[in-house]
Symmetry: C2
Subunit: 148 residues, 2 copies
């Protein structure tokens, strides 16, 4: 679904659409939760894609805005498809499920309108923000609670 627009995005930036890139994008297309380089390599190596290519492609896809690196509570080498909102590539407030790692995007920024004022008291000029909400998604809420 997003596949074609991602491919266009690559072309638009002057990059070739090669087999490994296509495979990586296909993987991305079928996946919503964040993944690590290791995970995707585990998946793609079977089809002959090299480790280095995975890293290079992940970096490339970040550069053209297809991927974003996400910073989870438990580590930060995770990647995820960037939300397809034109002109808004860098503002995606998220909700992350602590059980299953599922991520949803907020349809509305939950920041107060006077954020800049609050910030200015600290002497900062605000340029942007990065917000993750943490909680439990509906699917996990329904499951019998397993404590760990």
């Amino acid at each position: 679904m997003m596949l074609q627009s991602w491919i266009d995005q690559l072309k638009r930036n002057g990059h070739k659409v090669t087999a490994p890139r296509r495979k990586l994008l296909q993987y991305l297309d079928g996946r919503d939760a964040p993944f690590t380089a290791e995970e995707i390599y585990g998946e793609l190596s079977a089809t002959g894609v090299g480790r280095a290519t995975v890293f290079r492609t992940l970096k490339l896809l970040q550069d053209v805005g297809v991927l974003v690196r996400v910073h989870l509570e438990h580590g930060c080498q995770h990647y995820q498809a960037a939300p397809g909102i034109p002109g808004d590539t860098h503002h995606h407030d998220r909700i992350i499920c602590r059980e299953c790692g599922d991520i949803a995007l907020l349809d509305q920024c939950p920041m107060r309108s006077d954020v800049s004022d609050i910030a200015r008291r600290s002497g900062f000029r605000i340029q942007g923000h990065h917000l993750d909400l943490y909680g439990i998604c509906s699917s996990c809420e329904e499951l019998p609670t397993k404590d760990d």
Copy 2:
């Protein structure tokens, strides 16, 4: 200032207060911005502290709650003293300077009061959040702008 309470925290958890640990805590005490293991090793190695000890101690201090790992835009192996606010160890909204990396804590949570409502539309039950504002601090603002 925090030094003594951190030392107590170590003892309370059954750990010894050794010279390297004391040095690391002293470093922490005089520092507010996040630092990496490398930075602190660079600082402490001159006094004879080994690399492994730095990593082991950082992990230990996280375990007892003195340190938290922070997740910055550009990487996540950063550590910082946990805010000494009892019962609020995990809620520190921050402002981070994109120039110098300096970090300030917000004195007020800039989230709207209806966050939970917004989130609930995604089917999530919200437990907490992690917010970083990004911008330019006053010191850097004053410097002649250097583009890179």
